[in-house]
Amino acid sequence: MVKTEQQNNTEVKIQVKDLNFFYGDVQALFEITMDIPSRQVTALIGPSGCGKSTFLRTLNRMNDVIDGARTEGKVLIDGKNIYDHGIDIFQLRKRVGMVFQKSNPFPKSIFENVVYGPRIHGVKNRKELSEIVEKTLIRAALWDEVKDRLDKSAMDLSGGQQQRLCIARSLAVEPEILLMDEPASALDPVSTLKIEQLLQVLKQDYTLIIVTHNMQQAARVSDYTGFMHLGQLIEFGKTNQIFTNPREKLTENYISGRFG
């Protein structure tokens, strides 16, 4: 009974402090502050357009690509602000992997998909690359299904397999954090279940942050949940608490299905 409280001492991986984000003149995120725990699954829920995906993309600076995008505030990973001048954005993205809503395998072979990242970061040795492929595909629970056709096009895989391949591709550069933007929203229930099971395995080694539309999914897979609304983080806490005993009226309305 003492233990429950002590879980709050979980190591913090990402500290977000007063984060504001703008698309040109339009502010999309308002004063977001949260501590994301290490090696746990953190889910972000909220209605469409609430800024979940935008927020996710501030954590690996993928928003930098967008014309006119501007970020204020701090995001500290292991205590270091990723928005400081002189930060190596390519090393950052290596540490903070990302899996997209629509699986985006490259139109290359399965093997080439997985080794794309390692090659970019300088791994040339063929044997080493093969080991990476086997290791990451096993970890992404895809190895048994594709081990005999690694040289076949990734585009011929099923949707669920493609998404697991994208997860494997992200794992191949040995990230510490994995951001997932509705990774299962385009998948059938069986494939979704596989991805959800995979999350439980992966969280032993990685800090996972998952954006999802699906509240049941958030309740099933996550340890912590943040509820966002109109660019603000309304409430953040243990998943159990958010879903059974939300502090905010807005959260309660959303999870009980009164809007969204």
Binding site: N60, M62, V65, D67, F90, Q91, L92, R93, K94, G97, M98, F100, K102, N104, F106, P107, Y116, G117, R119, I120, H121, M155, C166, R169, S170, V173
Partner: protein
Amino acid sequence: MRSAGREKLVGWLIRAATYFIVFVIASIIFNIIYNGTTAISWQFLSTMPRNSGAEGGILPAIVGTLLLVAGTIIVALPLGMATAIYLSEYAKSGRLMRTIRLAIVTLAGVPSIVFGLFGLGLFVIFLRFGASIVSGCLTLACMILPTIIVASEESLRAVPKSLREGSLALGATKWQTIRKNVLPYSVSGMLTGSILGIGRAAGETAPILLTVAAFYLPKLPRSIFDQVMALPYHLYVLATQHPDVVKVRPMQYGTALVLIVLVLGVNLAAILSRIHIRRKYKW
């Protein structure tokens, strides 16, 4: 009943328009083939012209056109592709971008004789390349640049954004992403689109008229600063400038046939390679 009658009439008119186009193209090609084949022989293709082009072959014109096409590709392809990569991948939308686009569209609309004058002024006279293969190639390159840029940019934009993001999210730089995950899928489209422009370069007369083409030069060039004969200009000369236009008519048709086979061959190659590549990459 009235609307049904109108429907029929419109259908008939549209069909007639289409058939008319096909008829025009077919009769041009038939005419050239019918009159040209009699002139075509190994000797026609492989020997120098004699007697002001009234006799002998058209070898220097064939060689000249091939050289011009090759040189134009060497100049225009890298320039055009680099511009397309800049426009599609790097340039931010804004006034500069709009100005560049306007310039490209305008360039595409400039009459080819104006390109010829421009080449004469800049390459032949100001840069002192003289009437030469270099001047001709540079002039033709300016002319087909818009075609190459537009085709290349289109095929770059056809690569889904998600592939770029996937690569960037793995820690790749922008150039690594372009080189490894955009260009491989678009380079074939860039090439096929560009080949169409190159086919046009092979057939143009006005730009080379003032910058490279020789009226009558029965020998092969020795350097890129030499003049050459070229098929389209040779055809023009035979058809209008020759003292005995009627007598050399078979030579005209023979030259026209060689030119058209060359251009259509280039286009066919473009179409075939596009089909091939479409099969190779899909997303």
